[in-house]
């Protein structure tokens, strides 16, 4: 296996982006920041991989439009996933492992506010037995939250504690679109939205883009003092049916954790778009109480679709670059109610 590290990260998050859903306008300055961080030009990037969705953009081939932000004369080596860009990172990591390229730029983008996000996401469900009912993502998360409450695995107070910590930490994150902690009591006094979920239990609808640079071996050492070396990446998927799996569990997250060495992880950036999902993930990953969870504020402070997972890897890597941690964890989820999960472990030593 080649040693591959995260050596660059840039992001934008906003409540409502007023530009085109192709997001070229957001991506150009992001790529500019990454060229600055690495000292490279686009010619130094061996592979480009993006995560986005035409359903979010409301137009076909939106990812092809986004390629304008790269510039493709001479042609570039490029790919795309219709998933969170964390899975584009996975593809890029594999590409580097093949030896074909030494560097990759991974990016994700999405204008969630162009449509009704929780409704659009019903299109990721079973088209025969679910989509015709348009079960929105918030409702599906509500069913999951209730199942855990009924089973005595968590309660509204534990969920509010996740929210309070996230929004308190988010005060230090310039990109957070929802921030400001108060208290568990104050949060519990707020009205229900999708009983048992309050609005603050659900990640805010967020527009944005993010990008990460990966580099192998000496290429990484050239541009970063403390590269965040990817020690492992593991991804698994659970059945899509809401009826045949225990909603209070996430076997695919647990299986991904089993494939990873999580001993000594100091910081975990968990992609839990609903407060109770962080509780599920902490349990499935077996994270000790001394692990710092989502010091960035996490997805409850801002969660651009198709980017929210990639941002977790970027935020985790920044902790290594800054010398604030030696071993960190990035996590991404996709699909309804934590159906698909990806776990990456990043370390200061290769």
């Amino acid at each position: 296996m080649r040693d591959v590290a995260v050596v660059g990260f840039a992001q934008r998050q906003m409540e409502e982006f007023d530009g085109s859903p192709t997001c070229v306008e957001l991506l150009v300055p992001l790529f500019g920041e990454l060229y600055e961080q690495t000292g490279w030009t686009r010619r130094d990037i061996g592979f480009w991989c993006s995560g986005s969705s035409d359903y979010l953009a409301g137009r076909s081939f939106s990812f092809v439009q986004a390629v304008d932000a790269i510039g493709v004369i001479p042609p570039v080596n490029e790919s795309h996933v219709e998933m969170d860009a964390a899975w584009a990172l996975y593809e890029a990591w594999l590409k580097i492992q093949t030896g074909e390229v030494d560097t990759a730029l991974v990016y994700g983008f999405g204008k969630s506010s162009a449509g009704v996000l929780r409704r659009t996401l019903a299109l990721q469900l079973d088209p025969y037995t679910m989509t015709p009912l348009w079960p929105d993502t918030v409702s599906l998360a509500g069913l999951q939250a209730r199942a855990g409450i009924d089973a005595g695995l968590w309660d509204e107070r534990a969920m509010a504690a996740v929210v309070n910590r996230s929004l308190t930490d988010a005060e230090k994150n310039e990109y957070a679109i929802r921030k400001g902690g108060s208290s568990v009591e104050e949060l519990l006094d707020r009205p229900m939205y999708a009983d048992p979920l309050r609005k603050h239990d659900c990640a805010p609808v967020t527009d944005g883009a993010a990008a990460i640079v990966l580099a192998a071996d000496d290429k990484a050492r050239e541009v970063a003092e403390r590269p965040a070396w990817i020690r492992s990446l593991a991804t698994y998927v659970d059945p899509i049916s809401m009826g045949t799996r225990d909603l209070t569990r996430s076997p695919s997250a647990e299986r991904s954790a089993r494939d990873s060495d999580l001993d000594g992880v100091q910081v975990a950036e968990l992609h839990a778009p609903f407060s109770h999902q962080e509780l599920i993930l902490r349990s499935e990953l077996g994270l000790d109480d001394d692990v710092a969870i989502n010091p960035s504020g996490g997805p409850l402070a801002g969660n651009p679709m198709f980017t929210g997972g990639l941002i977790r890897f970027g935020e985790a890597a920044r902790k290594v670059w800054a010398g604030e941690a030696d071993k960190v964890l990035g996590h991404a989820t996709s699909g309804p109610a934590l159906q698909q999960n990806l776990i990456g472990v990043l370390e200061a030593s290769a």
């Binding site: 530009g19 304008d68 004369i73 449509g115 025969y128 015709p132 009912l133 209730r146 009826g243």
Partner: protein, 331 residues
């Protein structure tokens, strides 16, 4: 003035899918007023039936009728329904384990407030008046008639409770399902595209020039597709150009506005580095050729808006054809 222009867009498509034998059996059952579950190799009765056994991966062939009564195993309150959900007023989504089944079905539950629903409550199927072989043949669940609800209610045995609707005469099995999907967006143009459309409203054609390679793009792009630089310089282009390539449209299609045959062509405006698609009219289709010089025909000014349709079409100028060398790199 807002930074960008935007307009509502609706994207709609009726997805037609074949069902296969298992989902077909389930949907045929719904049309006929029965809930058909599948029994897995582990003996679990699952509704809707899975197409393949989760353990052995063999096709599921053992079918069991369940319900129509059942028990709520989880629920959530939909305080702000979205378009095309089972109700346009607040309702519950619930996981309901039908009597005789071991796994719950997701569907709507018709109660008037969150106070009227609880985990463990007894519910029953309410069938749609017209059933076609779709999950929406179940209109929703409703609180069970004559049952008090709550955890102590005894589930009835599968198949014991008669459906309210008498089974209709057997019809052909369901093999296909049509799912209409309609999504509403507010589609925004980029700042450069917005300048282009605002220019058209004043009878101008505005492009953008790449500051590095000096190529001129119309309609404008936010970044130069050749080298990725943001395009910073606005350029006004003339209404005249050259046909680089074209096709004669002979095939009628839905939404066609002009009677075939007619010509769709790439027109390279003088000074631009990318051609754009428009109509060539006022000339017989067979006379249109590569290199033909054309000019924009604008609609009457009072009909102008922020749209490319301000230009009705292009027509020949009568000038000599452009030299092939002048446009060969733009093909």
């Amino acid at each position: 003035m807002t930074r960008t222009l935007s307009a509502p867009v609706t994207v709609a498509f009726d997805y037609t899918r074949s069902t296969g034998p298992v989902i077909g059996r389930f949907l045929t059952g719904l049309r006929d007023g029965v809930l058909v579950a599948g029994r897995t190799s582990e003996g679990r009765v699952v509704l809707p039936p899975p197409e393949f056994d989760p353990v052995t991966h063999e096709p599921v062939t053992d079918f069991v009728e369940v319900g129509p009564g059942g028990t709520v195993t989880s629920w959530t309150w939909v305080s702000e329904p979205v378009a095309a959900q089972p109700f346009d007023r607040p309702f519950a989504f619930a996981l309901v384990t039908l009597d005789g089944a071991d796994a719950p079905l997701l569907h709507a539950l018709d109660v008037s407030s969150a106070e009227d629903v609880s985990t463990g409550m007894r519910v029953q199927v309410r069938w749609s008046e017209e059933r076609v072989g779709a999950i929406t043949d179940v209109a929703c669940f409703e609180p069970a008639a004559g049952e008090t609800g709550g955890d102590d209610a005894e589930p009835t045995e599968a198949g014991v409770v008669a459906t309210e609707t008498p089974p209709p005469a057997p019809a052909d099995p369901i093999q296909q399902v049509i799912t209409p999907v309609e999504l509403d967006y507010l589609y925004a143009a980029s700042p450069e595209e917005s300048a282009f459309y605002r220019g058209l409203a004043e009878g101008k054609i505005l492009g953008q020039r790449c500051p590095a390679c000096h190529k001129v793009y119309v309609p404008p792009r936010s970044a130069c597709p050749a080298d990725g630089n943001p395009t910073t310089d606005e350029v006004e282009l003339p209404s005249k150009g050259t046909v680089t390539t074209f096709c004669i449209v002979n095939v009628p299609f839905l939404g066609q506005r002009i009677k075939p045959p007619y010509v769709s062509a790439y027109v390279l405006l003088d000074g631009a580095d990318i051609a754009f698609l428009h109509l060539i009219l006022d000339v017989p289709a067979e006379e249109v050729r590569m290199g033909m010089r054309v000019e924009a025909v604008w609609k009457p000014r009072e009909e102008w808006g922020t749209t490319i349709e301000n230009i009705s079409h292009f027509r020949p100028t009568g000038e000599p054809d452009a030299d092939y060398e002048s446009y060969k790199v733009h093909l």
